[in-house]
């Protein structure tokens, strides 16, 4: 029960008790007053009648007549005349008079009409004592009317009182509501500063305290953000040309060289500028630097139509242009265009094109290759290009022998989709420090008709090529929500959703419907992982996803994080529970860069998880930089408690 309800209830009860007490006292006072009035009436009658009876000189018949006349003319219950020896000389009494007062009131309220007495004398002698009792029926009617009026007026008073009380309480506790919202925001790692400082001292102190605390945490986040941006510039940007550097390319390549990569392969062009020493001698360092900048602009201009391309300066004279999904024909045309443009620029600088020129080694890579292979084979292609007159050379990767053809894969995947033959294999993310499972990782497995199981790595590439990955995700999500695995009850499980699937227009609607109908019945806590590439856009679509997940208490995680965003505000806005990055990414970060990332993640409660940790040696290195939660083969080597 909220504080407001408790106080409102207490004060309302208090008010009601006061009103009921006042009502009771008022009623009692009215009751007493009515009884006193009854007595006064009776007393007046007794006094005046006793004086009148005195004039009868003890004549009983005369006195009886006088008593009758009085009794019949007023509201009396009883009049009697008793002589000095206690003998009743004459008496009159009335039957109970019918009134419109309800029976319950007559039973609940007892009105005892007092008896008034007066001495009756005749001359010097005493005749006796006259007793008069008024009729209480009239008093009942009067009291019932008073009771009704009191009840109505007190009900109105109570209603007005309670309304005013609630309004006042709401006004007084309004700042508390804001404090509560602020406190809830702090729990959610949100930074809300309450601008309106409450008047009440206690609330004012709390709000000021909360504001200071929130400001400090926000300042910490902002500092981390700034630091990371600065570090990112130092680590990933070439200062002279403003192009990306070799480190960036190496950190980024894992996204392109993986089984479920969006692209199956493409062309990497290694470009080297020869004759730089001669150029320096001819036109000077400054103009050579300008030449490099011109060349960088040419690269950017020529590749602007290629999505997801990476242009990076590998060293002083060499550049790399990674072109995913680019055919060798297009790449050759592009290489020629770059060559021609750069040559023109070199000539325009007044340099000798035979001494200062560029060579372009094109290497057609595929997703199965390692970073080392891609770079060394690209270097080979460049070496070949340098010896060619055209200065352009294309090398192709040796195509791996496919186990199955594309069509065969397509058939298997279609069959699996039709028959819902996808299942989950469980991997774990382990906290090496506490030696506990941080969460389970759900990995999709395909069960073919013939009973063969294919892992995510085996079929996903083909599914991507066939454009079926979204259908697979839709299928497995429906399966997970509609027929959840009860063995996972009370555990925490993560599921990775691809960029392609999440970018689909209909995915949001499908997920909404699925969550609405089944999320409440899910026996485990679900964390949906979204790629950093999508999340960092901080688009409306992402905000919708976040709101949707929050509505159904589904947590959000980020994977493939390499910290290449312009601004990390999106992390604060989305507040994922964790960020997953390749172990190599974390291990190659500078101390400053990592501490800046830590500052951001710690200030908003995000944990860092290293993926692809294959051995304990790597885990140890990660542990040294305070990253303890890992994913990969090394998790099997940690003895859990």
């Amino acid at each position: 029960m909220t504080l407001f309800k408790q106080i409102a209830l207490m004060l309302s009860l208090f008010l009601l008790v006061i009103l009921i007490t006042v009502l009771t006292l008022n009623f009692k006072s009215a009751n007493q007053s009515v009884q006193e009035q009854l007595y006064e009436d009776a007393k007046n009658t007794a006094s005046s009648l006793s004086l009148s009876l005195g004039s009868a000189n003890g004549d009983i018949s005369m006195m009886s007549t006088m008593i009758n006349a009085n009794f019949d003319s007023g509201h009396y219950h009883y009049i009697s005349l008793i002589d000095v020896e206690n003998t009743v000389l004459y008496e009159r009494s009335a039957e109970n008079v019918q009134t419109d007062v309800p029976e319950w009131f007559l039973n609940a309220i007892h009105i005892e009409a007092p008896v008034a007495s007066a001495n009756v004398s005749a001359g010097w002698n005493n005749v006796g004592i006259l007793h008069v009792q008024s009729d209480s029926s009239h008093a009942y009617t009067e009291l019932y009317t008073i009771f009704k009026e009191l009840l109505i007026s007190f009900s109105i008073l109570a209603l007005i009182g309670l309304t005013i009380l609630n309004l006042l309480l709401a006004a007084i506790l309004k700042p508390l509501k804001k404090v509560q919202l602020q406190a809830e925001a702090v729990i959610r790692n949100e930074f809300i500063i309450q601008e309106k400082i409450p008047y009440t001292k206690e609330f004012k102190d709390v709000v000021l305290g909360m504001n200071t605390m929130v400001s400090k945490v926000k300042a910490m986040f902002d500092k981390g953000n700034e630091e990371l941006k600065k570090q990112k510039e130092l680590e990933y940007i070439d200062r002279a040309t403003k192009l990306k550097n070799r480190k960036y390319l190496i950190d980024k390549l894992p996204q392109y060289l993986k089984i479920d990569a969006d692209s199956k392969g493409g062309i990497n062009i290694m470009i080297a500028l020869s004759g730089v020493i001669e150029a320096n001698e001819a036109i000077g360092h400054r103009r050579v630097d300008t030449l490099f900048m011109e060349i960088a602009k040419i690269f950017i201009e020529q590749t602007k139509h290629y999505d997801n391309s990476i242009i990076s300066r590998m060293n002083g004279t060499e550049f790399s242009i990674l072109l995913p999904d680019c055919s060798d024909t297009d790449a050759l045309k592009l290489a020629q265009a770059i060559y021609d443009s750069v040559s023109k620029t070199i000539l325009a600088c007044g340099l000798n094109i035979t001494l200062t020129f560029i060579s372009l080694g094109l290497y057609e890579y595929n997703y199965r290759q390692s970073i080392g292979q891609l770079l060394s084979l690209s270097d080979n292609a460049l070496a070949q290009a340098k010896f060619k007159d055209t200065h352009i050379h294309l090398d192709k990767a040796e195509s791996a022998v496919e186990v199955m053809g594309k069509e065969a894969w397509r058939k298997i995947i279609y069959e699996a989709l039709d028959a819902n033959n996808f299942t989950f294999t469980l991997w774990t993310a382990v906290d090496g420090k506490s030696k506990k499972i941080a969460h389970n990782v759900l990995s999709i497995t395909l069960q073919a008709k013939d009973g063969t199981s294919y892992s995510y790595g085996q079929f996903m590439a083909s599914a991507n090529q066939a454009g079926l990955s979204s259908s697979i995700y839709k299928n497995i999500l429906e399966m997970m929500f509609k027929t959840p695995d009860n063995r996972l009850k009370n555990s925490i499980c993560s599921l990775r959703l691809s960029y392609e699937y999440l970018s689909r227009g209909e995915t949001y609607t499908e997920l909404s419907l699925l969550f609405k109908n089944f999320a409440a019945k899910l026996p485990f806590k679900l964390i949906i992982e979204l790629p950093d590439k999508l999340v960092r856009q901080n688009s409306e679509q992402i905000k919708l996803y976040k709101a949707l997940f929050e509505k159904y208490t589904i947590e959000m995680g980020v994977f493939e994080f390499i910290g290449e965003s312009e601004d990390y505000q999106y992390l604060q806005d989305l507040r994922p529970v964790y960020i997953k990055g390749e172990s190599s990414y974390f291990l190659t970060q500078s101390e400053q860069s990592l501490s800046a990332l830590r500052l951001i993640s710690d200030s908003i409660g995000i944990s860092l998880i290293a993926t692809g940790v294959m051995d304990m040696q790597t885990y140890q290195k990660l542990a040294d930089i305070n990253i303890h939660v890992i994913q990969g083969k090394a998790t099997e080597m940690i003895a859990l408690t």
């Binding site: 007595y39 020896e85 008896v115 007066a118």
Partner: protein, 213 residues
């Protein structure tokens, strides 16, 4: 023998208790001295002595002594004594001031006689008309029995006469507050003190309880 001893002690304590409750106690005497003067105190001491001397007297002796004692007080109207048109003074005020009107004589005589053990049922405040002074008057009437001829204790006449001898007085109304109290309290569940019987009498009883001087 033992029973006699118990009875003796009981009687002794009853007598002691009675002697410990004088009509005018020491505190009252002090208060009267403070408010009035030494002469007032002396009047009260003399009253107590008079009452003490009547302990074993019969009703008639008591009536005579009390009537005589209080009739020595000077007559004064309520306006003169209390600056009020009509006021029933307590015996302490009456004797303290050493003045009062007819009701004040009746009241003081009544309570002194009650103190001396006269049954309150026998005493009545009687409203009369004085044919001599041609004005309303009040006397204390004593009824030996409910039907017997009353004796009149009057401040205008030092001697007590039977009612038939007082042709200068026309009786109007007899009143006995105590008997009315007892009757009206019957069956109402209320204490006698809380009951009402007569406006003036009720005020007087209250002042008596407060020992108004």
């Amino acid at each position: 023998m033992r029973k006699f001893k118990v009875l003796f002690f009981l009687l002794f304590f009853v007598a002691l208790a009675h002697s410990l409750e004088p009509y005018v106690d020491d505190k009252l005497l002090d208060d009267i001295t403070k408010k009035y003067n030494m002469f007032a105190k002396k009047r009260f001491v003399f009253l107590q002595k008079t009452l003490d001397s009547l302990e074993s007297a019969d009703d008639l002796q008591k009536l005579n002594a009390v009537n005589e004692f209080f009739n020595r007080v000077r007559y004064a109207s309520d306006m003169q004594a209390y600056q009020k048109t009509d006021y029933w003074a307590t015996p302490w005020e009456f004797l303290g001031k050493d003045m009062g009107d007819c009701e004040d004589y009746v009241i003081s005589k009544y309570f002194a006689l009650i103190y001396l053990g006269i049954d309150s049922k026998k005493l009545f405040f009687t409203y009369v008309r004085s044919t001599k002074f041609k004005e309303p008057h009040m006397v204390l009437t004593y009824f030996e029995t409910p039907r017997s001829e009353p004796l009149i204790l009057d401040n205008t006449n030092f001697k007590i006469f039977p009612a038939s001898k007082r042709t200068d007085l026309i009786p109007i109304y007899n009143f006995n507050g105590e008997s009315l109290y007892k009757i009206s309290a019957t069956g109402t569940g209320k204490k006698i003190e809380e009951q009402k019987s007569h406006k003036k009498w009720d005020e007087l009883k209250l002042n008596m309880q407060r020992k108004k001087i």
